[in-house]
């Protein structure tokens, strides 16, 4: 039972981590908590569903088109909503994301209806692999693999590409970035695009693990947020680890202590982390000397 709990905790934690990464990417750039993240992912997932359902194209094609849609959605939101804010405060921008979340929720309800659907994922959610006596379902296995690969790509992107470094530079010092000739507004749109892609990937995995319906991201988004807080909201590896830890803690708590309070663990963790170590587990955040 212990092994099973760890494995399924890792799988769900990987999804939390992806969502958390999507949030953290935005948070690092603009200190905005994007509450529309979940719904952006949900709408992207519905787009994938529609493509798969209507045109029966191979899954990878549908996923690529969905990522393209996610990019457009992210840029659209940044340019059409956030950039228009006059004298924006962080709080004001957060409220705009809340508004966008409601618009998307309403849109999804209108366009695709409230019924649950099963998401046609190429990996069975019932069959299992037997790894040394430990049963791991194919979907859990692939969820973990895909998440880890995505995180690794993100890590490489931010660490080694000129654009990735420029994004980090813009996050840390927008004025200096402009002085370097970096188009910071463009970078901001691009940040939203990347975040939206990561969210869409999380959305498709979460729909594949469960079912697809408009409110499907409510719970995962909160858990993702908790993972982000656990990781300090600024460190990408911290966030990834935070997601995994949260998934595992949740499952162990549910398995050995109390199922009824399993969902509360995430919130307890948010409160605990904020009280004890607000910078998160792995963050070595540089505090600007004034």
């Amino acid at each position: 039972m212990f092994g099973q709990l760890i494995v399924s905790g890792l799988a769900v934690g990987a999804c939390y981590a992806l969502l958390a990464l999507a949030m953290v990417i935005i948070y690092k750039t603009s200190e905005v908590l994007n509450f529309a993240q979940g719904e952006m992912a949900m709408v992207s997932t519905f787009v994938a569903f529609t493509i798969l359902d209507a045109y029966h194209v191979p899954f990878l094609w549908a996923a690529s088109l969905t990522f393209l849609f996610a990019i457009l959605l992210g840029i659209f939101f940044e340019i059409v909503f956030l950039r228009q804010a006059k004298d924006p405060t962080v709080l004001g921008l957060i409220i705009i994301t809340l508004g966008f979340e409601m618009i998307l929720m309403g849109f999804a309800g209108w366009k695709w209806g409230p019924d649950q659907r099963s998401f046609p994922f190429p990996v069975s959610n019932v069959e299992t692999y037997d790894i040394g006596g430990l049963l791991i379902s194919k979907i859990n296995f692939w969820t973990i693999v895909i998440s880890v690969v995505l995180m690794f790509i993100l890590f490489l992107f931010f660490r080694y590409t000129k654009l990735g470094i420029a994004m980090r530079a813009t996050q840390q010092n927008p004025l200096a970035a402009r002085v370097m000739g970096i188009r910071t507004k463009w970078i901001l749109s691009f940040t939203w695009a990347i975040s939206s892609i990561v969210g869409a990937a999380a959305g498709m995995l979460i729909a594949a693990l469960g079912v697809l319906d408009p409110p499907m991201m409510m719970d995962p988004l909160l858990k993702g947020f908790a993972s982000g807080v656990l990781g300090g909201m600024t460190s990408l590896p911290g966030t990834a680890v935070g997601g995994a830890i949260l998934g595992i803690i949740e499952n162990l708590f549910g398995g050995y202590i109390s199922l009824a309070f399993k969902s509360v663990v995430a919130f307890a963790i948010i409160v605990l982390v904020l009280c004890i170590k607000p910078s998160g587990l792995l963050a070595k955040h540089y505090v600007k000397k004034v």
Binding site: R168, A169, Q172, L175, V179, M180, G181, Y286
Partner: protein, 260 residues
Amino acid sequence: MATDGILKVKNIETLYGLIMAIRGVSLEVQEGQIVCILGANGAGKTTILKTIMGLLEDQPDKGTIEFMGKRIDGKDAEEIVHLGISYVPEGREVFPELSVEENLKMGAYTRKDPKGVKEDYNRVISHFPILAERKSQWAGTLSGGEQQMLAIGRALMARPKLLMLDEPSLGLSPILVHEIFRIIKTINGEGTTILLVEQNAKMALKISDYGFVLENGRIVAANTPKILLEDEDVKEFYLGIRSEESVKGYQRWKRKKRWR
């Protein structure tokens, strides 16, 4: 003064909201020179540099800026960097959570000639050997002097024709100030024109070829360092040398500046 200056600023007026920070400033920088702008806090020195750099939206409100014969007022920072102006902002403004190497890489953001970038990287390292030692350290963990060196090095990575420095001596120990100014002189010697904004008038005038004095958004004096250093007002207000000592020490309040 010759008329083929690399940078020509004519009658610019810059607004911060409703406040006019620059009130009709004209200045010219000759190629290959070091030119300094002196002035007290709030005189508008930084605003001039930011206006030139295109960092203030819709500014200058009036006037023109020409760089190498091209109008650059109204262009955005990205283009201006590309044309060959680099700016070292006041207070260093390094990227604190990027490594020293990454900071330098960002300096060459607009460039597409990897070979040239590599050359410039080596040149920067030769000026500031300490940066090579600290290459993979976060810039935020460097000392103030090292950060200043990094900021200058980063600006050089764009291979600028004109390097604008905003208060490079701010917050540094006298020894480091000397070191920085020595390097500025060396950089200039390698062919980079320099526009320097300073409160430390003595040091600035020592290395400059020409100087402007700015007060309340206006140029009040412009001349060679030699002449400026002899100027009574510059002496008293910027170099801290008083011509007559008063017993009670309130003389500086009584004396009027002639240029007003």
